[in-house]
């Protein structure tokens, strides 16, 4: 049994324990060590998956229907690598941002969140997915409430309520699936859901629940307040990974459980909601006054893009062209990665600016380009990826989605893909405009601590690398791609 997996799973949890018990410098150092060990383990497992394809580990030694299995395919591995990467960056950022142990409670919650995120991508049992999602939600709500003022607390309460509402709907769906098929394991469930009153109900409840947790357009009401009021490292993790976790589960359900070609109409409903999300989110982001709210609404918009995978992938399979479906799948996943990295970079930048400039109102950012050039450059590069301009990962994703959409003649998706990019450029460059303005007297502002700028720059470098050499992540996406013709690789 590969040695890396236990460290990958246990690392963050152990770090949480240690940082809870020993709040001093040693405790922090030890927990950081454990966390990095888990990140390295993630890398090791990815190499193994790269070499030998999909890996399955039966937990506690029992087989699939009885026990719980860990299934790591290309998509899961990419998400694990993403979590490891971004969490490392966020941890280094938080070290500088929180200035020593001003916030002892931050670290245990943060490591628990990291550990929970790892588990959700590994496990392939629908009920343990529910428990993982609950674990993530509680850790995230705990983290959001850390900033302590009244509005942040009510935002986190509202977030908790809506998240739990989503999980309960998901739980009802799980109950019906279990009642109908008799097993809880995803791989065993694939294709056996059939089409009856209970399967339709189950799928709609699960989708609705997870859409609520992913903040798809009509259900996005809780996200802006929660993500913008949480402390910067937490909001980075929220936007980049927590939201993606429930989307990942939805992807698993939609493409592994039911055969995608059958429910085209529902897929297009999700696509339509996605389109509405892109337009509504971008418009809202352009109107916001505070930087973090802009980034939060931009998350709402970018999540809209993610939901394009359902109609495009399903449509391609319905048309019997598996290479089109492959392109849609690759585009979608690269978009998840690119958005995660870009959004976390943006939140970290807004956190850094908040700390150095005292306020994150955009109008107060005058002269920022001179005082904090690197941070603004990072915001620019992350913005470029959101808009989908070439040297970034976002462009590759948009290019793949565009080509599939054109091939399947979905002109509406093509139009929204392009229009979304332009609308994104409005709020990205709006911040740059203000920061280029040179105020009369230049505010004397402290330099951004090294660890914060290093983590931000590391994220932007990853973005550019993904743009210039996307071959490696693309290679990963094909492992275990849920095409009817089995594993294409």
């Amino acid at each position: 049994m590969s040695g890396a997996l236990p460290i990958l799973i246990g690392g963050p949890f152990a770090a949480a324990m240690v940082s809870f018990l020993f709040t001093g410098a040693i405790g922090r150092a030890l927990s950081v060590l454990l966390a990095t060990a888990s990140a390295v383990a993630a890398l090791a497992t990815s190499i193994e998956v790269m070499r030998s394809g999909v890996q399955i580990h039966a937990l506690a030694g029992w087989g699939a229907p009885l026990g719980i299995e860990l299934r790591i395919d290309g998509l899961a591995m990419l998400m694990l690598l993403l979590t490891a990467g971004i969490s490392l960056a966020v941890t280094t950022f938080a070290a500088g941002y929180l200035k020593g142990d001003a916030q002892p409670h931050f670290w245990p919650l943060w490591y628990f969140l990291w550990g929970a995120l790892n588990t959700v991508f590994l496990v392939s049992d629908i009920f343990s997915l529910y428990v993982c999602l609950e674990l993530i939600t509680l850790a995230a709500v705990g983290g959001t409430a850390l900033s302590g003022d009244r509005i942040a607390l009510s935002a986190s309460l509202r977030y908790l309520m809506s998240a739990i509402m989503g999980s309960l709907a998901y739980l009802l769906g799980v109950a019906m699936i279990y009642a109908q098929v008799g097993t809880l394991d995803l791989t065993q469930l694939s294709g056996r859901l059939g089409s009856s009153w209970s399967s339709g109900a189950a799928l709609s409840l699960v989708t609705a629940g997870l859409a609520m947790k992913t903040a798809l357009f009509p259900l996005h009401f809780w996200l802006p307040a929660a993500h913008s009021l949480a402390p910067a490292p937490i909001s980075a993790a929220l936007s980049a990974m927590v939201v993606k976790a429930s989307f990942y589960v939805l992807l698993r359900f939609w493409f592994q459980l039911s055969e995608p070609t059958s429910n085209q109409l529902a897929a297009h409903l999700l696509g339509a909601l996605g389109m509405a999300a892109v337009l509504w989110g971008s418009v809202q982001a352009a109107l916001q006054e505070r930087l973090k709210l802009v980034v939060a609404y931009s998350t709402v918009a970018q999540i809209g893009y993610l939901f394009f995978i359902f109609p495009l992938f399903g449509g391609a399979l319905a048309a019997g062209r598996s290479e089109w479906a492959q392109e849609a799948w690759k585009g979608g996943i690269i978009l998840i990665l690119a958005h995660a990295v870009a959004k976390s970079a943006m939140f970290l930048v807004s956190g850094a600016l908040l700390q150095t400039f005292g306020s994150d109102r955009i109008s107060d950012l005058k002269g920022a380009a001179v005082r904090a050039p690197l941070t603004l450059a990072a915001w620019g590069i992350a913005g470029i990826s959101l808009i989908g301009l070439p040297p970034s990962g976002g462009f590759i994703a948009k290019w793949l989605l565009l080509t599939t959409a054109i091939r399947q003649e979905y002109w509406l998706y093509v139009a929204v893909l392009l229009l979304g990019g332009l609308l994104a450029s409005v709020y990205v460059f709006r911040v740059l405009w203000h920061s280029f303005l040179t105020p009369e007297e230049m505010p004397s502002v402290s330099r951004i601590p090294g660890s914060m700028s290093i983590s931000i720059l590391a994220l932007t470098v990853v973005l550019l690398l993904m743009g210039l050499r996307p071959a490696i992540p693309l290679e990963f996406t094909l492992i275990g791609i849920p095409l009817p013709a089995g594993d294409l690789r």
Binding site: R158, M161, M165, A201
Partner: protein
């Protein structure tokens, strides 16, 4: 190597102009400039007929010293030499003379260059160089009048350039190459040859003073200083004629419509110029109009050259002869006017006046003058019966008109008061100006004998001058003009403050009409007033929209909306999922 001489002779003035700019070389330049055209004169006289092509220059430049080129080069060189020397003493101070000299040399280089150019593009380049660098000469003294003249000169020059460019383009697209040897034939065969010929005629016509396009001439020549206007009238307007002779399909056309048109316009130009000149009050304007009328003869000759029945060589020879004659006479007159305005002693005035009188008579074509010889050559062009019938009466009438104009000019010259110009050089001014003027008048006097020799040596076969035939023709002219002059003496003797027809007749008339027409910028101003409310309107709309959007967003963040949305989502999903299965 020998080909290089051609290019060098044309480019020496250009090089000198540029070296003149350097601060140190100023004094040295004062002595060298007058002799700048000398190499060109020498090439014209002694150089063998040369043919040179430089592939890398422009689109493969060709230079060819053929007969026509040699004549024009010689004439231009002589006149530029005279004007150069004349200008040395003419200006009031050193600074303005230097500025004048820079552009003087540029124009000279352009003029000399175009005579030897053998392909359309090189010709056009030198032509443009000459035209544009002549502009500063026209507005040299900086008064408002010369600025206005300069503006009209430039506008019409640009119009001419553009017409010429389109004509040459159309011709080259037919001919496939830009050489002058190929162009005429290609134009003759071209389906749209009428448009090409019209464009070329108009293009060169602006420079040659073809009537509707001549309006800049009476404005520009008087405004320019004397040496400049001498050269302007002497050789530069001749460049237009050279252009016609090079490009137009002489003798290759079937129909004689074009030659008919040219003949008619030549005659009309002659008479129109004479009439306008006659009413002028200042000698320079009168001289300018006399140039316009004399160019009528050249247009006449060009028209004859266009005759379909191959009379081109004779017509070209006659045209060349007339060009030389007119060039020298007109330049002498202009220099005379310049000298007169500086002459202080009575003796010098008498000398200048007699010289000018001789030149005037030569212009009118009195016997034993180059004018008579040139007119005789024109008459003797064997261009079909119509021309033979009409040639002598026409030439007679035009000569009489010219005679009247000459009389008017001489009278104006007599009345000209010298304006008080202080002497920059400390010795009497006339001393500097006379030699240049005198040499020209002398050339004029020796003209009838020198001209045929020069033309024949250049390669144009032309019958030599024999006093006998001229006496007969000339006698008829004298018999007619002297009584008429006597009858109309009140006309040409009267003085008037304002000329009946203002100089630049057509242009000033049309120009004033244009000014009243609201300029385009006012036209655009009409639109700007209601631009303001439109942007105001859009602004209100967008603010309203933003408020609505923000309100909707607030509504959405309320909890119940979220729950409704959730319920809505799973119900629609359930319905859609079952749509297919149900």
């Amino acid at each position: 190597m020998n080909g290089a001489i051609l290019l060098v002779s044309a480019l020496i003035p250009l090089v000198l102009a540029i070296t003149g700019l350097l601060n140190g070389a100023r004094v040295a330049m004062d002595r060298i400039t007058p002799w700048a055209p000398l190499p060109a004169l020498l090439t014209a006289l002694i150089a063998p007929s040369l043919q040179v092509s430089m592939p890398s220059l422009l689109f493969g430049a060709e230079f060819d010293l053929d007969a026509l080129g040699r004549v024009f080069l010689g004439l231009s060189a002589v006149l530029w030499l005279a004007a150069g020397h004349f200008s040395c003493g003419y200006f009031e101070n050193r600074k303005s003379e230097r500025r004048h000299r820079f552009f003087f040399l540029l124009t000279m280089s352009g003029n000399l260059g175009l005579t030897v150019a053998a392909d359309a593009v090189t010709f056009y380049s030198f032509f443009a160089l000459m035209t544009f660098s002549a502009y500063p000469l026209v507005i040299h003294d900086g008064t408002e009048n010369s600025r206005r003249a300069g503006r009209s000169y430039l506008r019409l020059a640009i119009l001419g350039e553009m017409l010429l460019l389109s004509g040459l383009l159309l011709a080259t697209s037919q001919a496939g190459s830009t050489e002058f040897s190929a162009l005429p034939k290609a134009i003759a065969l071209a389906p749209n040859r009428n448009t090409i010929i019209a464009l070329l005629l108009a293009g060169f016509g602006v420079k040659a003073g073809l009537v509707p396009l001549h309006a800049w001439l009476p404005l520009a020549h008087p405004a320019a200083p004397a040496p400049a206007s001498a050269v302007l009238s002497g050789t530069m307007i001749k460049a237009g004629v050279l252009g016609w002779l090079r490009v137009l399909p002489l003798g290759d056309l079937e129909s004689s419509t074009w030659s008919g048109i040219l003949l008619a316009s030549g005659i009309f130009m002659n008479l129109y110029g004479a009439i306008c000149g006659f009413v002028q009050v200042r000698p320079k304007e009168a001289l300018a109009y006399s140039s316009v009328s004399q160019m009528g003869y050249l247009t006449l000759a060009a028209g004859l050259a266009l005759e379909p029945d191959g009379v081109a060589p004779a017509a070209i020879a006659a045209c060349a002869a007339y060009t030389v004659h007119h060039g020298i006479a007109k330049a002498a007159l202009f220099l005379g006017v310049g000298a007169l305005s500086h002459a202080d002693g009575p003796r010098v005035r008498v000398l200048l006046l007699t010289g000018s009188l001789y030149c005037g008579l030569s212009l009118a074509g009195f016997p034993l003058t180059t004018g008579a010889y040139a007119k005789w050559l024109l008459k003797s062009i064997p261009a079909g019966k119509t021309w033979n019938a009409w040639a002598s009466p026409l030439l007679l009438v035009t000569s009489i008109a010219t005679a009247f104009l000459v009389a008017r000019i001489i009278m104006l010259l007599v009345r000209l008061q010298p304006d008080q110009v202080k002497h920059a050089y400390g010795f009497p001014l006339a001393m500097r100006l006379l030699p240049a003027w005198g040499s020209l008048v002398l050339l004029g006097v020796l003209g009838p004998w020198l001209l045929p020799i020069a033309l024949r040596s250049a390669g144009l076969h032309v019958t030599s001058f024999s006093a006998l035939e001229h006496i007969g023709g000339g006698a008829a002219l004298v018999l007619w003009t002297t009584p008429l002059l006597y009858i109309g003496r009140r006309l040409w003797l009267r003085t008037a403050a304002q000329p009946a027809i203002p100089p630049g007749d057509l242009l000033t008339f049309v120009g004033s009409k244009l000014e009243r027409l609201t300029p385009i910028s006012k036209f655009l101003a009409v639109f700007t007033p209601w631009k303001k409310p439109f942007s105001r309107f859009t602004q209100i709309r967008t603010e309203g929209l933003i408020k609505a959007v923000v309100r909707m967003e607030e509504a959405q963040t309320r909890w119940d909306f979220g729950m409704i949305a959730l319920a809505l989502t799973w119900t629609t999903l359930w319905v859609f999922l079952h749509w297919r299965t149900g």
